[in-house]
Point group: C2
Chain length 326, copies 2
Amino acid sequence: MATIRDVAKAAGVSVATVSRVINNNGYVHEDTRKAVNDAINLLHYKPNEVARSLFKKKSKLIGLILPDIANPFFPALARGIEDYFYQEGYHLIIGNSDDKQEKKNDYLDTFLQNNVVGLILSTNEIDFKKIQRSKIPIVLLDRIVEEFPAVFADQTQGGRLQAEKILERGCKKVTIIRGPVTVKTVQERFQAALEILEQENIKINIIDSKLSFQDGERTAVELFKRFPDSDAVLACNDTVAIAVLNEALRQGRCVPDDIQIIGFDDIYISGIVYPGLSTIHQPAYEMGMKAAQILIGQINQEPLSQLHYKFPVQFIERNSTRKDVD
Amino acid sequence: MATIRDVAKAAGVSVATVSRVINNNGYVHEDTRKAVNDAINLLHYKPNEVARSLFKKKSKLIGLILPDIANPFFPALARGIEDYFYQEGYHLIIGNSDDKQEKKNDYLDTFLQNNVVGLILSTNEIDFKKIQRSKIPIVLLDRIVEEFPAVFADQTQGGRLQAEKILERGCKKVTIIRGPVTVKTVQERFQAALEILEQENIKINIIDSKLSFQDGERTAVELFKRFPDSDAVLACNDTVAIAVLNEALRQGRCVPDDIQIIGFDDIYISGIVYPGLSTIHQPAYEMGMKAAQILIGQINQEPLSQLHYKFPVQFIERNSTRKDVD
DNA sequence: ATGAAAGCGCTAACAT
DNA sequence: ATGTTAGCGCTTTCAT
């Protein structure tokens, strides 16, 4: 790889001049600029980002921690982030935390050791003190911690929509699947749905589940055993909703005629399963983009017009609810 | 952030000694080692990886280029790669190419500029000359180019399995969906399936599709219009297979009684849709792990026992084919 | 408008 | 067994 010295030599100037040209600052005569650019092209010179980073103590790298990229909600987020950064010349180092404290800390250390210039975290209970000490800008994504910039979808609105739409469709025996209490967003949507349902004179059952499809299957079986007369299910997310959908079909129940189901997230799969899953759409790709955008703003020391960006959610009606209501 | 000099000062030794301790090479007295380690702990010292990288011209970073992380086949690969690297102390910079030449080249440049120590590529037609010039180890994943190490699944076996299983189940009018000619793996599975089918006295139709769900939907509609009497469909991948599955159901066809469908990939979704999709399992997670493992071997200059690692595939029977055959 | 030189934090000779 | 020092490739004062 050619270095700045090679270019300087080839162009017959000093390294300082080359640096001025590639960074486009300081005075440099048009003729020398041309000579330098010619040398750069001739040698296929690309500045060594590591040397830059060492000197400036800032790289073009961003650290991203997700719970699990293989979990279908996250790829869309990651893609949004990556697309924005690509266009801004930043790049992503990615880590899967599996919600393990040790992995989160490991990644945090690695990121800091590599001079990342910003952090996007889609994971809970990280060592915020270390982050604050490091002064590195951070944006939380799909998570909320009061004092940090965050991008998330309107969980309360989402939970309400689940409840309202299911009430509009005449359900009287609604089972809500409550996700893990440790995930704040998931609890918010649950609380909001519950609150709406409790205002009506209907039967409400509650059952717990983790967010995975596997646990969703277990939950689904238990659900139909404990609450066989449910005429509606509000699920904590789409993977669990789809597990319930399948179990219902397996038991010979008709969806949506016997039982209606509403999920949450609107992951890619939800539009693909048959019957299509009615759900609450979270604009994951856009949220990822926004998080990246805010982070860049922070990096560039631009003032933050608001700390928390709440994205609207939307009810997407497919075929697990009864369209023919009104 | 504390530097090696801070540690040296705190421990009352030179930076060289600290370097010896943290890199665990050269002679260092037990007592001084202890003093250094105490200082390290006291100051929460972590070596600056950028400075290391600049000196050694090797980082702990690996570049990964995928077509699109949001495409359901790739997260499992990425997860396998990441898990292996995490355990080895390497980290991933990730890029989505969208099969665009410009993006691939951009990422390649970025990776080289950041001293990545290895490359995993799951994308075609990259600038191999530049890679060879850079001397950076590379492993291709789910792609094959003769002269490079590669990890992939046995496409021929997969295509044959599709064909054999569909024949065993008594199908006489088989439509094969052929994926993009540009993707070699996809062509191989197609050719292999076709070859088997042609040995039998059955009706074979061929239709083209891209690999996305959206194009799968288009293809599905066309398929039932052009070849309404198909009693089986062999799809180029699972997303397309699921699109066909849905369209069949939508048209009131019974799966698997009227029409049987076999996909390819065994993505997460395929076990979740209803009816479950019978498909050819590619061990994506394991392939990702293997690619990472081979790359580390290359980085460590270990001899490569074979250039190409072909993973066996497996027929996963769910409910889009007729189990009750034998 | 351009160059010389220091230094970012680290490692690896080389010296002792 | 430990210290001194040059230098990785770059940017940025400070001179001129």
